[in-house]
Amino acid sequence: MKRTLCCTVLVLMLFLTGCTDRLSVENVTFILLVGIDVDEEDHVVYSLSSPVFSKEAKKKEEELEVRAMTMRNARENFDRSVVASTLGGKVQVILLGKRIFEHKDWFQLMDVFYRDNKDTVLPTVVLVDGKVSDLINFAPKDKPRLSTYLTELLRTSHKRNITVNTTIQELHRQMYDKGITPSISEVRKDKNLLVMGTALLKEDGRYALMLDPLANKLFSTLREHRSGEFPITLTMPSHNEDSFYKLNKLSITATDISTKTKVKYEDNKFRYDIKVNMRVTLSERLYPINLDKNAKKIEKEIGEELEAQYKLLFNKIQTAKIDPIGLGLYARAKEYKQWKKVQDNWGEALSKAEVNVKVKIRIMSVGSIN
């Protein structure tokens, strides 16, 4: 009898106190897009966008832009205007205005995404060339919800290797690791959304330069985790371009790429020997040449052209004193003693390094015509 009474009291206690964390899904507003920007008066502006479920509402989402102290603070402001309490666990894309990258230490603004256990680390980080507010209020009639549209757009363009796909988890790694500098997608909104390419940042987070789609493809081939397709169109200098249509073009799709990176410390500098093996299919050829007979020659020509492109890429990277590929990781793994000396100034050290890229091409198929 006593025991039953005790149990009843305990169960009642559970019922009375156990429900404080509950919040039904319909009473929650999910933030899908987060924007951070600096306005004309040098204030940090946060913008948030979340979907609206109600049938009566005409617009698919609600947006808010506030000057706030922090991200959390902005969320509280958001709570003041939306119908349900806001939740950050479903953020899809984080948009960062270009002006953010004029100053260092902006990365600290992202603290809440890493600290809050309820938040996810998978949203993609995007640099917006222009104002974030223009983009976040963008509601094209022929496109789905902006968040869906943006994620799909970034996903497909990453699949085509037009840009990288940097989640905030990856960004954290790139910001903290001394052997790599951050690289994020760059978009621009003119009339439509347009993926520009990849923005490379300096070690401290400031903007360094942008890689156009072709450079990004080459850049992506050198990174550790490759994925997607690599359609590349090259201009072959060995053929004249006197035709009106500039017919010295050749397109390939690299299907199978393997790279081997060797690092040595010689003559007070690092030396990188990167071997790139590509198996390609030829998908377009505008100038006349017999592909069946000259396969070896073309392979060599493509290889040389790509090597020249790689050289350009490394020139850009080395002059900017950045290391978006993560060559520092190789230095740390293979030449740890030397690395330790320069690890805090790795960009500097890499700019002095000698980088040789050797490309070997094998054409696997030329398509149905000669």
Binding site: T120, R173, Y330
Partner: protein, 366 residues
């Protein structure tokens, strides 16, 4: 003669009680702590820890070889007499109680951080207490079955880590021994909390049905534990940059956040929820040991009321103190030190003493 024959456990249960007691909340933060103390070579410290564990286990088995039907309580009473033995017995029991309490508190803190931030902490502890009483109150055989079943139910969990393999940077692990051997040895200390647990051997040894398999049992149990730890640690090291990993409190959970399926996101939450099963087998094992210890000290046969008493005491303690992460970490350090005493020093001392004791009492023992 055999006073524990009624509750005999099989070799499998023996293995899973040790393994269950070892694997608790430690694995979540282990890789971060190892990285802080010894960089990316930290996983090698675990191998040293494994060897240490094996030595300690074998010493305990050697101690018991002459007294196969004794728990540590019977043994100490035999060696030192009723009152003198209390000097050792009380700290051991206290240690088991503290460890049980600590594991529960840590699990509660994880749950509060990830799932139920507003729910009162004592309520979560009360929820824990129900299965604890149901298992630990019943006896060692039920505990063995519980730990066994939990092991099978959660055996899939380490394999989910393989989903992040494609995001790993194996270059992070190189070079091996980058700063020499010293950091590796330094890494043993932070891993102690995670690899402790085999000291339940002090109590469960006489219950084992086939004593000759004890050595095999402890080797398997420790190897399973260390393998799981090494796997988790290496994957964490390969995933996170060595420069960033120390900024995470629980690298393993942060890593699991990356896993995403088309039907399920935030895999860390599912993982943590299921991991509660694994953690429960740890605190329930310690709870049994603590209650058994108390019942031995007050010379009662039935240990189940003490399970209830200890559980209530822990709830009351949480209700009064409301432990925080920092406090729990501080306690973890202290209890690890206690653990070194119970799990590594005591076997050595007792073993030495028993060698001497046998010389002098040749006729008395069997």
């Amino acid at each position: 003669m055999k006073k524990y024959a009624k509750n005999e456990i099989s070799l499998m249960q023996f293995i899973f009680i040790i393994n269950g007691a070892q694997v608790g909340t430690g694995i979540m933060s282990l890789s971060g702590e190892l990285a802080a103390s010894s960089g990316t070579d930290g996983w090698m410290s675990l191998i040293i820890g494994w060897l240490l564990n094996l030595v300690a286990c074998l010493l305990i088995i050697q101690v018991f070889k002459r007294f196969p039907d004794d728990t540590v309580y019977d043994l100490l009473k035999r060696l030192f007499g009723k009152w003198l033995s209390l000097l050792v017995v009380i700290p051991i029991t206290l240690y088991f109680t503290i460890f049980c309490c600590l594991v529960q508190i840590k699990a509660m803190l994880y749950i509060k951080a990830w799932f139920l931030p507003q729910t009162p902490d004592y309520l979560i502890m009360f929820l824990f207490a129900i299965p604890t009483y149901m298992v630990a109150g019943k006896g060692l055989r039920i505990l063995g079955r519980y730990n066994e079943l939990v092991f099978y139910l959660t055996a899939w969990m380490p394999f989910t880590l393989l989903f992040v393999l494609k995001e790993c940077h194996w270059l992070h692990l190189l070079p091996l021994f980058k700063d020499g051997i010293m950091p590796v040895i330094r890494g043993v200390e932070p891993s102690i909390y995670s690899i402790l647990g085999f000291e339940v051997l002090w109590i469960i040894y006489p219950f084992l049905k086939y004593k000759e398999k004890a050595t095999q049992g402890v080797i398997i149990a420790n190897s399973i534990t260390i393998l799981a730890y090494i796997m988790a640690t290496i994957i964490c090291f390969a995933f996170f940059s060595p420069d960033e990993i120390t900024s995470y409190h629980q690298p393993l959970l942060s890593l699991l956040k990356m896993i995403e399926f088309s039907f399920l996101e935030r895999f860390d939450m599912i993982f943590l929820a299921f991991f509660l099963f694994v953690v429960s087998s740890s605190w329930i094992s310690f709870m049994f040991m603590a209650a058994f210890g108390v019942s031995q000290m007050v010379r009662k046969q039935d240990h189940s009321p003490y399970v209830a008493i200890i559980a209530v005491l822990i709830i009351v303690m949480v209700f009064v103190i409301h432990p925080s992460w920092n406090q729990a970490n501080e306690w973890q350090k202290w209890s690890s030190r206690m653990g070194i005493g119970v799990a590594y020093a005591l076997p050595l001392l007792l073993w030495a003493y028993v060698q001497v004791y046998i010389r002098f009492h040749k006729g008395d023992t069997r």
